[in-house]
């Protein structure tokens, strides 16, 4: 409950929304509300509801794929447009990002990607797909930068890597039971040309507040031919420097092990190379 909430705005245009947001330092953007309405944040005095602005398109076919900011997670699960894109990866990720259908019906894509819910699959997949956030009146910014610097303003869409020859993606997640929070989660996006990895984004989710790129893993892959040995080496050597602290109920070294298992699993799914 937001105890200090005084105003609810439902702007008709983006420009109006921008003005309302700018006019009050206690104003926040309201999407699905799954986080802000339960935050008990007493600095929130007004909410600017952006769900009626038509920002819910999903365009994934062409050269400039994007997700509308206020599309709901369940739209990603259901929309036919999503099924063809990287084999339906976004659909699967959205489904796993929130076990509750009720919450998938309200949670928005932008909220999920920006804040990385506790299950965090979509957020990690978006990072692996090079997500860039389109911010009203401010242009685009990289999701990774947003994780560092935060973001103000209204996100209107999330741009993602187009599909292409040799480009594949896969993820692997481990949780105690199907719908509990993942203990570890990894996503691998790779581009292979003439048998060599020419580009990759390997992402670790579920550890820390946001998903992060595992650049050491990416460096090992770069220029190499993907095979079982490479995947093993990348998952082992690429994670050598990664330190994960103990969490209540989970030790750091076990989590490190799980990250290794999921990086291997994600690479395996992305490349189609299955170890013995």
């Amino acid at each position: 409950m937001l105890f200090a909430l005084e105003h609810y705005h439902r702007p008709r245009t983006l420009a109006e929304a921008g003005e309302q947001l700018a006019s009050d330092s206690g104003a926040r953007v309201l999407g699905g509300g799954t986080r802000i309405l339960t935050s008990r944040d007493d600095s929130v005095r007004s909410l600017v509801d952006v769900t009626g602005l038509g920002l819910d398109g999903l365009e994934l076919g062409g050269e400039e794929p994007f997700l509308g900011a206020t599309a709901r997670l369940q739209d990603l699960v259901d929309a036919p447009a999503v099924q063809g894109y990287y084999g339906g990866i976004l659909s699967e990720a959205a489904y796993l990002s929130n076990p509750s259908r009720l919450k998938r019906n309200v949670a928005t894509v932008a909220g999920e990607i920006l804040e990385a819910g506790r299950l965090g699959v979509l957020s990690a997949v978006a990072l692996a797909l090079g997500a860039r956030l389109v911010v009203h009146d401010e242009g685009e910014c990289d999701l990774e930068e947003v994780h560092v610097n935060g973001l103000s303003g209204i996100v209107t869409a999330i741009r993602l890597e187009p599909e292409g020859e040799g480009r594949t993606i896969g993820f692997d997640t481990v949780s105690v039971v199907e719908t509990s929070n993942p203990m570890a989660l990894s996503v691998a996006w790779v581009e292979v040309d003439s048998g060599k990895v020419v580009s990759s984004r390997i992402v670790m989710g579920a550890i820390g507040p946001h998903p992060v790129r595992l650049r050491a893993v990416e460096e090992i892959l770069q220029g190499e031919s993907p095979d079982v040995a490479l995947i093993e080496r990348a998952a082992r050597d690429g994670l050598e420097g990664v330190q994960i602290g103990d969490r209540p109920g989970l030790s750091g070294d076990y989590l490190c092990h799980l990250v290794r298992v999921t990086v291997r699993g994600a690479l395996s799914k992305a490349t189609g190379i299955v170890g013995t």
């Binding site: 909430l5 005084e6 509750s100 009720l102």
Partner: protein
């Protein structure tokens, strides 16, 4: 002033800005919609807004202007139960009954979308409405039975 349709009736309410739909309903003595966490996790407060099952605790009352809200009170009447309600009663899917309205509304959305769901579809629809009594066995059975009955009625 917020105007919306509640189970087919146009209602006008003037509620405080921070009220959720759940709070609004209960303050108006619509007791069917339950509350178990006010964080969207338990689903006891599920209602349909424009046909979608949502946690009413995560829906601001003011955001409902012009929308259609359906609650368990709109589903059936004494002696004239909705097939879903009938099935929940018949198969013993109701134990304490606290999660029942939420489960019914989540199932209603499902059956409108997929009239002949698989068990996996039902389990997905009910993930989000937590139940601590039944182990979900009989609720799942009830939704499948209701679907079957509703299909038979149509044909």
């Amino acid at each position: 002033m917020t105007e919306f349709h509640l189970n087919g009736q146009l209602v006008r309410v003037d509620s405080p800005v921070n009220w959720s739909l759940l709070r609004l309903l209960r303050e108006q003595r619509w007791w069917g919609t339950k509350h178990g966490c006010e964080g969207g996790e338990c689903g006891a407060c599920a209602v349909l807004v424009d046909g979608r099952a949502v946690p009413s605790c995560l829906t601001l009352a003011h955001s409902l202007h012009g929308k259609r809200v359906e609650t368990v009170e709109g589903l059936g009447k004494p002696g004239d139960l909705h097939p879903l309600q009938e099935a929940f009663v018949d198969v013993g899917a109701i134990q304490c009954g606290y999660c029942t309205p939420g489960m019914l509304m989540a199932s209603l959305e499902l059956l409108r979308r997929i009239p002949d769901p698989t068990e996996a579809d039902v389990r997905d629809a009910l993930t989000g409405t937590l139940c601590r009594c039944t182990g979900y066995v009989k609720p799942v059975e009830a939704v499948l039975l209701a679907a079957q009955k509703m299909q038979e009625e149509l044909s």
